[in-house]
Amino acid sequence: MAVPLAALGALLLALPVLGLLWRAPWSAAWDVLGDDAVRTALRLSLVASLGATALAAVVGLPLAWVLARHEFPGRRAVRALALVPLVLPPVVGGVALLLAFGRRGLLGQWLDQWFGITLPFTLAGAVVAEAFVALPFLVLTAEAAFRNLDTRYEEAARTLGAGPAALVWRVVVPLTWPSLAAGLTLAWARALGEFGATITFAGSAPGRTTTVPLQVYILLESGRLEGAIVLSVLLLIVSVGVLVALRDRWLFTR
């Protein structure tokens, strides 16, 4: 019984990919990629996903460090919190972000009032939405890496005169770099493909917040199937690239 069901499962995973490649209008690819709206979407996606990865790194790596190395009341709760975006439907995440960072949101009203910063329906909003969904990938990977790092290396470095900055840059980062890079790559890939939270929180303003996944949806809705497929294949290639790059760590454990 197991083998036929397993085959069915493999088919369920493989067929959509095959369908995408089979229907891909290879000859039209250059035309689609030359389209202004598509090029803008590609640029926005690159900027937003890299910005989101950077934001996730700036807050996520310290969070992972604290979770891995410090014992404090509520640590388990904080770790569970870091997992929320992983299981939360992205649309719900977007709504939640609106309620927190929207103009009338929990924090948003103060951001607006004090600094004149509005996040919703801006590129910065897209960055925040993508960082929100990408954060768990980075935090989980980095926390495991920090936890597995033998504290003796830090102790040896301290006795040799390493202050906090030297500890981070000469010891912790170099020793955990392969895992940190994997975490950053996963986070970036997740940010690049983000749709639900982005469209809810940042909307779809062409030229401002319309990233590639949103553009795919727009093309599909307006009947331009070719364009949608070309962009989809592009995202597929990036995803497969990430898989190949990370095949030795995290994804396939023998």
């Binding site: 003796r152 102790e155 470095a157 006795t159 040799l160 005169g161 030297a166 000469r170 170099p174 020793l175």
Partner: protein, 343 residues
């Protein structure tokens, strides 16, 4: 340079309360059983553990100084070399942290590697080094910053027996070249005696004895030290040369001390007999053989009885006396072989 320590650390179930003192160029060896707090003491000296009390190095109280600002070199038990750096960059690490340029630091590192005989391994990663080589890199790394205080945690325990003898000899030579204070932790008596100018015996977090190797060898003050140097140690109450070590056993000595005393005699001073010996020896106790251990050309016999002791006999005597676990024997020691001194 000098080191004056009187510190207290509470860690888990351990209460460490230790004092030690060392002058410049001296090696203090801290010995003690597992769990006595030896490593905790070293970590507190290095600033890796907070401690109460005071640690005074060259007149500076460094008790509250963070580890990275103390002039301390630490050689870890399993070396803790940075796996992502070559031997050269491991040794250069401390100098880089002190703001030396990469080139400068590498020149100094190469000099230290040459001193420990590893010039040709400068580019090797720690994973490519043998245990003995890694130990020397760790030593060079600690010495390269010219620390006023050098701490070594079981420096030889990670090595196999052959490497150990050679590394011990080299280590003693390098320690002698360092002009600061050295504190070495070990549980190996041979390592301790080879390196120590001054021995500190730590048991259950407290210093039970401190002194020169000779002083400790002649007058051990605990069962652990006695085992370490391989002598029999008993405690008792002395009156005019007769020490009552148990209700049913006395030891007679040529030494005249009164009061609470330690009694020491060497296992090779103990003679074993199948029947109660007649005549001269005044110390005769019955016992049962508990264990036989071959040690070099001798057999160490452990006896249970009113007086628990070890005796060294020849293999021929084991056969002649028919010694085996459970066999009953008589042990005798001449009064002149027994040393008695006040507790």
């Amino acid at each position: 340079m000098s080191l004056d320590v009187d510190l207290r650390v509470e860690l888990g179930g351990l209460r460490l309360d230790a004092q030690l003192h060392a002058a410049a160029g001296e090696t203090v060896v801290v010995v003690g059983p597992n769990g006595a707090g030896k490593t905790t003491l070293l970590r507190a000296l290095a600033g890796l553990l907070p401690a109460d009390g005071r640690i005074v190095l060259d007149g500076d109280d460094i008790t509250a100084v963070p580890a990275e600002a103390r002039s301390v070199g630490y050689v870890f038990q399993d070396h803790a070399l940075f796996p992502h750096l070559s031997a050269r960059d491991n040794v250069a690490f401390g100098l880089r942290c002190r703001g030396r340029s990469r080139r400068d630091a590498r020149v100094v590192a190469d000099r230290w590697l040459a001193r420990v005989g590893l010039a040709e391994h400068a580019a090797a990663r720690p994973g490519e080094l043998s245990g003995g080589q890694a130990q020397r890199v760790a030593l060079a790394r600690a010495l390269a910053v010219e620390p006023r205080l050098l701490l070594l945690d079981e420096p030889l325990s990670a090595l196999d027996a052959t490497t150990r003898a050679v590394t011990r000899r080299d280590l003693v030579r390098h320690l002698a070249d360092h002009d600061g204070v050295r504190v070495v932790v070990t549980h190996d008596p041979l390592d301790a005696l080879a390196m120590a100018d001054h021995l500190v015996v730590l048991e259950a977090g407290r210093v039970v004895q401190a002194g020169s190797a000779e002083e400790i060898r002649v007058r051990p003050r605990s069962r652990y030290v006695a085992d370490l140097i391989g002598v029999n140690l008993l405690r008792g109450h002395a009156e005019r040369g007769v020490v009552r070590v148990r209700d049913d056993a006395v030891v007679v000595s040529a030494d005249e001390v009164d009061g609470a005393v330690f009694v020491v005699f060497h296992p090779h001073a103990v003679a074993l007999h199948r029947a109660r010996p007649e005549g001269t020896p005044r110390n005769v106790w019955p016992g049962t053989v508990a264990a036989l251990d071959l040690d070099g050309g001798r057999v160490r016999v452990t006896l249970e009885g009113p007086v628990r002791l070890s005796a060294d006999v020849t293999p021929a005597a084991v056969t002649a006396l028919g010694l085996a676990p459970g066999v009953g024997v008589w042990a005798s020691v001449k009064a002149t072989e027994v040393a008695v001194y006040a507790e």
